[in-house]
């Protein structure tokens, strides 16, 4: 099971990275700041706390997925650590999937830490466990799937190009992924194939946003779960493409 070993090494390595630690700390501070911001509102403090908290988690999670994921493969190539690893009895696909699995675990760990903090803030505000219901858990789960999608895209770019370009492309995809739905809905007249193409090409991340459901404490619509399935399929497709490219890549 060399892929599992690669996964565990990746988890340890990523957890020690300054970028990951700093971003996580920043995320924790951002979530904590939402508590102060919530004090500025007039009534309905929960609405501000939950919305800002969830968005802070999303921003940090996506940044970690994009930056750390972009460095996973191309960084190993730059540091010349890839060749000795691949000299061992492990396939390139096993290596790439192991790296992605490690990244995924760290992303979910980050999510757990930040979600725990948001939950504490919401509980402190409400004075009960009431806010931590189905809406909260489902919103967090959908966020986790978003991170996995962005991480898979970052790993794909990392297998194709340099770390810097991979980070830029991954962030661009993460931002565009929040807009594809709006573009497709608003684009009228000639050339409607363009938004349709973007819709299928880019990950539709906005479909996995559950801010509104959390703010109004309603379960995300059935479409959200379809979107979750779609997100996982998209991540798998991105990884399959990454494996395809990485298998053929000249590592010299």
């Amino acid at each position: 099971m060399p892929a599992i070993a690669i996964c565990l090494v990746t988890v340890r390595e990523v957890l020690r990275r300054k970028l990951q630690v700093n971003l996580l700390l920043f995320g924790v501070m951002l979530v904590a700041a939402s508590y102060i911001t919530g004090a500025l509102t007039l009534g309905e403090r929960y609405r501000i706390l939950s919305d800002l908290g969830l968005t802070a988690m999303q921003v940090i999670g996506v940044l970690v997925a994009a930056f750390v994921g972009s460095d996973l493969i191309s960084g190993d190539m730059d540091r010349r650590v890839l060749q000795p690893v691949l000299a061992k009895p492990i396939s390139r696909s096993g290596y790439l999937l192991g790296r992605y699995a490690g990244l995924g675990l760290v992303l979910l760990l980050n999510l757990l830490v930040m979600a725990g903090l948001v939950a504490l803030i919401l509980i402190a505000n409400a004075g009960s466990m009431e806010p931590i219901g189905r809406a909260f858990l489902e919103a967090v789960a959908l966020l986790g799937i978003q991170f996995l999608v962005v991480g898979a895209v970052a790993v794909l770019f990392s297998a194709i190009t340099t770390t810097t370009l991979a980070a830029v492309f991954s962030l661009a995809v993460a931002v565009s992924g929040q807009l594809t739905g709006e573009i497709r809905a608003l684009w009228k007249g000639p050339g409607t194939w363009i938004p349709s193409l973007l819709w299928y090409l880019l990950p539709n991340l906005s479909a996995m946003n559950a801010n509104e459901a959390l703010v109004y404490r309603t379960p995300p619509p059935a479409q959200a779960w379809l979107a979750a399935g779609y997100g996982l399929a998209y991540a798998a497709a991105a990884l399959a493409l990454a494996v395809l490219v990485f298998e053929r890549r000249d590592l010299r």
């Binding site: 509102t41 009534g43 309905e44 703010v215 109004y216």
Partner: protein, 298 residues
């Protein structure tokens, strides 16, 4: 200490001093009341929010709260409140509290039209909140002297699940004062058909009886006014109205009593002498702040 260290330290101290001096002269915004320079368009914010319209709405709501809460708000005026809340509710149409706060704040400031607009928008977007049409009904009778519109919105409010029972009484009063007692009768008849428990049925029946009484008594009131236009006093008996051709016949009191003309010239029933008072004109009530000086309190 080496000279270069002294130069570095002096440069730092000098620049820190200059920065501090300049900072003290910058306008920190505390000299003026809090204001919102530009209210962005909802469509622009929707794009900029990257799929998080509720977040954009909530951040704008925080600005609206600062705008509302500034102690010198009247000095500044209230021009931006309606546009702000309009954008907030475009981005997050379910933001019920924003409709309510803006609606109830704007009307006493003399901005009744804006208040009505935002409350009506809220009534459409949040049909589950009885308080929005209820507040709109209040605006209609209190500021606009429009009792029929008040009745219409109170009816919407009363039909909202979870609305308190007293809202039904408001519907009755508004419609009666707006000379639309027949609308109150129709509403209460439907309410009676929908009532599930005996207590509610009793309460609605009492209101329906009052509505029927008001409807018939209002017709007789008109005939009495016409009689007095001819004879100054009287009539001694309501049958005289029939003889004079002012009404076809004296209606039966639905509560089993007899109609009579009171000393104040209003028709009442022996079974239930209570009648809703005639509406007072809006000018007799406390005027909205800044009604004369648009949006600015004196």
């Amino acid at each position: 200490m080496p000279t270069y260290r002294i130069v570095q330290a002096t440069t730092f101290a000098g620049m820190a001093l200059v920065t501090g001096l300049l900072a003290s002269r910058l306008d920190s915004g505390t000299l003026r009341p809090y204001d919102v320079g530009i209210v962005p368009r909802a469509a622009t914010l929707r794009w900029l929010s990257l799929g998080h319209p509720t977040l954009a709405a909530n951040l704008l709501w925080l600005k609206a709260v600062q705008y509302i809460g500034d102690p010198r708000a009247n000095e500044r005026g209230w021009d931006r409140l309606h546009p702000l809340v309009d954008v907030i509710t475009d981005l997050d149409p379910r933001h019920g509290y924003a409709y309510y706060v803006a609606g109830t704040l704007l009307a006493p400031l003399g901005r009744v039209v804006e208040s009505n607009l935002i409350l009506e928008k809220g009534t459409r977007a949040r049909p589950d909140l009885y308080i929005l049409p209820y507040s709109r009904a209040f605006n209609a009778f209190y500021y606009d002297d429009d009792w029929a519109t008040a009745g219409r919105f109170a009816e919407v409010s009363a039909r909202t699940p979870g609305a308190p029972a007293h809202v039904r009484q408001n519907v009755l009063a508004y419609y009666v004062k707006g000379r639309r007692a027949e609308a109150a009768v129709a509403f209460l008849e439907q309410s009676l058909a929908e009532a599930r428990d005996p207590e509610t049925r009793r309460s609605v029946e009492a209101q329906l009886n009052q509505a029927l009484l008001e409807r018939d008594a209002a017709r007789l009131d008109d005939a009495v006014v016409a009689w007095r236009g001819r004879y100054v006093i009287g009539p001694l008996d309501l049958g005289q109205l029939v003889g004079e051709g002012l009404i076809a016949k004296v209606p039966k009191d639905p509560q089993g009593g007899e109609f009579y003309v009171d000393h104040d010239g209003r028709v009442r029933s022996t079974a239930n002498p209570y009648r809703f008072s005639k509406p007072e004109p809006a000018w007799t009530r406390v005027q909205p702040r800044g009604a004369q000086e648009r949006g600015k309190a004196p």
